[in-house]
């Protein structure tokens, strides 16, 4: 187990290092001056020079990379050029929306996908299975922003159960937060749940045709017992992989839904930073997202080892 853990941890560190190099190179080294890019074509040379000074662009690449990384490690992400405040404060603000939203959506995804996938696999070929396959097909095909707009009309405007947009902040109380985040979380969860339910179903069907399932039935286990005791855990590996990918996606890829519901999340922050050419924010937030993705993958690797004893020994 220990070599497996250390190897995974090593790959985590290497991934982060490589990603930081790539991000740094894309933004700071490739031809074109970041300062004049940020200020636009009509900027005065004096202003550009002042910004170059502020950004430390007059020092060497290595020096800038080292100071960027050491800043990141200390939690200092620099100062946003457009907002004129520390990037770490802005990001922390946005994470208060994005992390709960992603976790909420992922929980819904799992709560929907697991029972639906198990049901479809247990009743393969039946009406239940056909319905699940059709509904998940639809869930994947329908754009979630359109679905989000429908939900706003029905549940926010007509029924008034949830808010139609905006985020009241955590000071407004947990209930207000739930009211604000439920519709976006559902909109995010539906396509993801459709994907996950299908993966769950097909992985379970593969597992159910294994020899050891037949052995278990020969011991006297019923279909239901076989499903819970033998099939489910063996079917988890592909499901865990997808869950890991989905969490990463939900954290940063919620930009359209954030726009529909007017939520101040990370996705919108990156989008705004890019349109406003605020490279300092872009650089740091992208690095942060890479860190989140790599960390989630590491956790998924740990989950693999927990599920499958054979992986604990393979290094």
């Amino acid at each position: 187990m220990l070599p497996y853990l250390i190897k995974r941890l090593g790959s985590l560190i290497v991934s982060l290092f490589v990603a930081s190099l790539v991000i740094f190179a894309c933004i700071e080294i490739v031809p074109g001056d970041p300062a004049s890019f940020m200020l636009g074509v009509n900027a005065q040379p004096d202003t550009v020079n002042a910004l170059r000074e502020e950004l430390g662009l007059n020092t060497s690449h290595t020096q800038r990379y080292v100071s960027w990384i050491s800043g990141l490690l200390k939690g200092d992400l620099g100062t946003s050029y457009t907002y004129r405040s520390p990037v770490s404060d802005i990001v922390a603000d946005r994470l208060q929306v994005s992390v709960p939203l992603a976790l909420y959506a992922l929980t819904l995804t799992i709560l929907i996908a697991f029972p639906v996938g198990v049901l479809a696999a247990a009743w393969r070929g039946s009406a239940v299975d056909l319905f699940v396959m059709g509904a998940t097909q639809l869930g994947i095909a329908v754009p979630n922003f359109w679905f989000a707009i429908l939900m706003v009309i029905v549940f926010a405007i007509n029924l008034g159960w949830f808010s139609a947009g905006g985020f009241p902040g955590w000071d407004a109380g947990i209930l207000a937060v739930i009211k604000a985040l439920t519709l976006p979380a559902v909109a995010l969860a539906l396509p993801q749940a459709s994907i996950l339910a299908r993966v769950m179903r097909s992985s379970l069907l593969d597992t159910l045709s294994e020899d050891y399932i037949r052995s278990a039935r020969a011991k006297g286990l019923s279909r239901r017992q076989v499903m819970w005791r033998h099939a489910l855990r063996n079917a988890m590996i592909p499901v865990l992989t997808i869950i890991g990918l989905q969490f990463s996606f939900l954290l940063a890829g919620a930009i359209i839904i954030e726009n529909v519901f007017f939520l101040p999340g990370l996705g919108r922050l990156v989008f705004q930073a890019i349109t406003q050419r605020d490279l300092i924010v872009v650089e740091s937030v992208v690095m942060l997202l890479v860190f989140a993705v790599v960390l989630v993958n590491f956790l998924v690797d740990l989950a693999y080892a927990w599920v499958d004893p054979r992986l604990r020994e393979r290094s």
Binding site: S215, K219, G220, R229
Partner: protein
Amino acid sequence: MSLLSIQDLSLSIHGQSILDCVSMDIGPGEICGVIGESGSGKSLTALSVMQLLPEGAKCSGSIALSDIEILQADEKTLCNIRGRAVGMVFQEPMTALNPVQTIGQQVAETIRIHQRVSRSDAMVQAANTLRKCELPQERFPLSRYPHELSGGQRQRVVIAMAIALQPKLLIADEPTTALDVTTQAEILRLLQRLVAEDGMGLMLITHDLAVVTDIADHIVIMNNGKVVECGQAKALHSNMNHPYTKSLFKASTHQPERLGQVEDTVLLSVQNVVRDYPMARKSLIKKPAPFRALNDVSFNIYKGECLGLVGESGCGKSTLSRAIMGLDDTQGGVITLNGRDVFADETAREKMQVVFQDPYGSFNPRHKVGRLVSEPFFRLGRSATNDEIVESLVSVGLEAEDRNKYIHEFSGGQRQRIAIARALIIKPELIILDEAVSALDVSIRAQILDLLAKLSTERGLTYLFITHDLTVVKAISDRVLVMRDGRIIEHGDTKTVFHSPHHDYTKKLIASAPQIQPVEGINI
């Protein structure tokens, strides 16, 4: 009264008839051997008793287990019977166990779903059952996972799962087919002992006559979903009535006729070959020692010869064949074909071809046979002419029209003929047959061996015949090499090695191999 009584059992799956009026009886403490080739319906007979049939299956007739009529029983009764009154052991021990549960949990599960016992009591019983199956807790703790055990050990766990509640009937479906001969002998002895100790009835299903004739009291022979002959084992062996039974026995002891001459020239020379595999790292500091799969292996094959290479799984047979074909680099030694180094001179390899074990997996299903057969030419930068394709197909007993068909349209035996046609088309001198007949039924195997003998007579072909099956080697090869742990431990003339083996391992191997006494006076 018999323990299990099957009367006029017929089975159809999605309307297609599979079993037709099958009847047999098994008494307590009796071993009943059910023999048949693939597709004869022997496994589905067993699954009918367990009622674990595939979807769309319909049974009629009667299966009585003591006083319970299985075909009338509801699912709850059946779950009660399975594991408690009837235990079942399957063919493939590598996949028959749940990979994410320990062996203790899996054996204890049989106990816990049928009896109200605590987890710890069930574990104690599981440990006792495993000990009975010769897996003592001191050496094989209950916390082991299946992947930490060998094939034979896993099969013992499967047997322990099946007998944990001392069922009255044990069904073993090809329990030793996937195992080495020495392991096979041990598992058969274990089954015999369990039957004697517990008075279980045993239904032993196999395609291998030799496995059954020694230990069964009663034999049932099946063909195309019907019982063609049944009776007491000894009586049946000396007095066969049905032509199918006779042909089955004849095919099992078939001796193909080879008339080719062995020349004095060396065709393939293997000298001091060493092959190391890197091992997985277990410790952080120590570098793992490599695994030596081939250790100083040397031998020659002469032109026109058939050399048999026998050994159990993991002994290095396949590694050796890969090295000879130049597929894997070696860490020492020289391999030459016609005096040309197979690694240095790639064109040297044109004069050798290979036929693998699995006739299902070794063809691309999306190409037609004509293209599949002409594959060896692709390296030479041209494709085979129509005449060449037809000639090679005809020479292995297929039709010229078969070139336009896809591989799924052929049976296992026909596919193996196509594999041989693919090897022949480039007119090689050496053909490596890597377990080439192991997956085939006895009658098909006899046909393929005849074909190989005919081809070697006609074309002066040389064979390296790699197999774990001693009967086959004995039937076809001139000389034999015995391999163990990456070394050649014995070599010599086939007759000499089989009659007076020197090495202890060879003796053990030959003693373990089940044999049928040839029966005089069978004419078909």
